[in-house]
Amino acid sequence: MSSATLTERPTRSTLFDGLSRYIPIGATVALLVAMYLGGVANYRNFDNPQLIADLFIGNAGLLIVAVGMTFVILSGGIDLSVGSVMAFSTMACAWLTVEAGLPASVVVPSVLAFGLLSGAFTGAIIHYFDVQPFIATLAGLFLYRGLTLQISDHDMSIREIDFFSWGMQRVEFGSPRDGGFSLPYISFIAFGVVILAFVVLHYTRFGRSVYAVGGSEQSALLMGLPVARTKVGVYAISGFCAALGGVVAAFYTKSANPLAGVGLELDAIAAVVVGGTLLTGGAGFVLGTVAGVMVMGLLSTIIAFQGNLSSWWARIVVGVLLLAFILLQRVLARSGERRKG
C-alpha cells in the first residue's frame, strides 16, 4: 500500500468555517432573545407565556408559507405568487363548500393538491423553458389574484361550515392563571410543517439536492444530481405550502377575503432573509425562517405594547433588519473569498 498519507489541513479553521454557516441564524436568535428580554423589561405582562404562543397563532399562515419559500430560495429561486395562491385557496375552499355544497373533506385535499400541481407547473416552466423565476411567479401572482377576484369580489363567510371551526379549537397547556398557555390546532399544523421541512432538508437526498442546486446548479448537473426534479419539486412545495396557508387562514378567519395575502410574499421573503438564508441560495436553515417569523411577530407585539407607535414602524424596522442581514452576508462572503486566496 502507499507509504505516505497526505494529511490535509484545511486552509482555515474547520471550526470557524463550519460555524460561520451558523453566524446569520445565530444573529437572528440573539436578536430574538434581546427583543424578548427588552420587552419583558419594559412592559407589564410581557412575560405571559401566551404572548409567545400568540406568535404562532396569528402568524401560523405566514410561517407555513415562509417554510415553502425557504425551499425555493435555498435552491436559488424566488416565488412571488404565494400570497395570491393563498388567497385563491381560501376563496376556493369557501366557494366550493358554501356555494357548491361539496363536503369539506373533499374540498380541502383538492385545494392542497391544486396548490402542489400549480407549483409544479410553474417550476417546470422555469426549468425547461429557462424563464426567470421572478417573471414566471410574477405571472402567477397576477393569475391567482385574478382567479380569486373572479370567484368573488367581496368577503365570503364560511362560518356555516362546521369543518372550519375545527382549526381554532384550542389545546391547553396548564391553566392560564398559573402561567399556562393554549394553542389552537392550526399552530400544530404549522409546527408539523416545520418539522417535516427540517427532516426533508437535512435527512433526505431531495433536501441535500436542494442545497446543492442552490450552491451551484452547473456543478449539481455535472455531478449527476436530478436537477430538474429538484427545481420542479421546490416550487411544488411552495405551492402546496401557500395552499395550506390558505386553508389555515380559512380556519383562522372563517371567511375568505379576495384581497387577503397581498404583500404576503414580501413578508415571507423578509422572514427567510432575516432568518439567515442567503437570497442567492445554497445556505440557510428552515429553523432560521421560524426565528425570522418570530422576530417579525415579536416586533408587532412590541409596537402594540408601546401603544404610541404606529404599525408602520414595523415596516421600517424590518427594512433595517433586512439591510443589516444582507450586509452581514456580504461581509461573510467576502471574507470567505479572501481566505481562499
Binding site: 424566488i78 416552466i125 425547461y128 423553458f129 429557462d130 424563464v131 426567470q132 421572478f134 417573471i135 414566471a136 410574477l138 405571472a139 402567477g140 401572482l141 397576477f142 393569475l143 389574484r145 385574478g146 382567479l147 377576484l149 373572479q150 369580489d153 452547473q218 448537473l221 455535472l222 436537477v227 414580501l266 421573503i269 423578509a270 432573509v273 437570497l279 442567492t280 404606529s310 408602520w312 414602524w313 414595523a314 415596516r315 421600517i316 424596522v317 424590518v318 427594512g319 433595517v320 433586512l322 439591510l323 444582507i326 450586509l327 456580504r330 467576502r334
Partner: protein, 362 residues
Amino acid sequence: MIKALDAAGEGKANAYLKRLMWPLIVLAALLIVNIVVTGFGFIVPEVHDGRLGGAFVNILRRSAPLLLISLGMTLVIATKGIDLSVGAVYAIGAAVACQFLLDRDQSSMQNVAVAVALALAIAAVIGAWNGTMVAYFGVQPIVATLIFMIAGRGIAQLITGGQIPNVADSSPFVEIGRGAVATVPVPIIIGVAVFAALVLLTRTTALGMLLESVGGNPEASRLAGIRSKGITVLTYLIAGICAGLAGIMGAANLGSADANNGGLWIELDAILAVVIGGTALLGGRFFLLGTTIGVAIIGTLEVTIINVGLSSQWQFTDKAIVVFIVALLQSPEFRAWILKPFRSRGAGQAPTEPDSEKALAK
C-alpha cells in the same frame, strides 16, 4: 461609400422597427377593439373646460406616472438590474411634497417649487443609495432594492405622521396633476418631456451605448475600460427621480398623498411594460419607445376589459396572460420546442443537449 452608409442607416432603422413591430400591433389591435365596441369617440379627443378629453387621452393621462417609472426601470433593467423600490419612492415623493405644503401657504408658487424640489431630492438620494449598494457593495439588485420596497412605505408614513395630508384645490400644486397647457393635460406633457429628456440623455451622449455594453457583457466592458460603477449608480439615481416625480404627479392629481396605497404594485406593472416593449430582463439593448408602447398597452388593456364587458376582476388575469406570453416567446427553449415539428430533420443540434452543453460551455 455614401450609398453603403445610407443602406447601413436603413438597416439599423429596419432592425429597430422590427423590434417594435409586435408591441405596436398589439396596441393597434386593442385600439381597434375599443373603437369597434365604443365607437370612434374612443380615439378622438374632445375638449372639455379647456382641456383635452376623450377615452384614449384619459388613458394616456392616467398612465403618465407609470410611464415615468417604466422609463427609469428600462435603464435599470438594461444594466442587468432591477428596482423594486419605485413604488415606495413614489409614496415617499408624494408624502414629502404634500407634507411640506400642509401647513404652509399653498397658493405660493415658491412653496410649491420647494415642495417639488425637496421631494425630488429625497427620491434622488434613495436612488443613489440603491445604486451604491449594487455597484460598490456588490449586493444583488433584487435584494438591495427590496429593502426600500419593504421599509419605504413605513418611511412615507413617518413623514406624514400616519395622516393623509391634503392639498387645496386652489393650489398651483394640483395643476401638476390636473392642469392643462394649451388644452394638453400636464401629466401628458411631463411624460413626453421626461421621455424626450431620457432619449436625449442616452442617445446624444454615450450613456445609452455604455449602459447597453455594461448590461450586455460586463466583462468585455471592463476590459474595454468602461467605468461601470458610476454609470450604475447614475441609472438607479434616474430611476429614483422618475419614481419621485411620478409620486408628485399622482399626489397632485388626487390632492393628497396616501402612503399606504400610493403607487402600490406599480413596480410590477413597470417591469411588465419594459418587457413588453422589447427590453430583455437579462440586460443589454433597451428601447425607451418600446417601453412607452408597453405602458400604453397596459393602460389600454385595462379599459378594454371594461369596454368589452368583462368584469374588472379580469384585470389581473389578463396581465398574467400577457406576462406568460411575453416570457415564453422570449425563451429560446420554448421557441425551439414549439417549432420542432416544423423543423426539417437533421438541421441543427438535438434539443436534448442544452443543459449539459450550457453547463460545460465556458
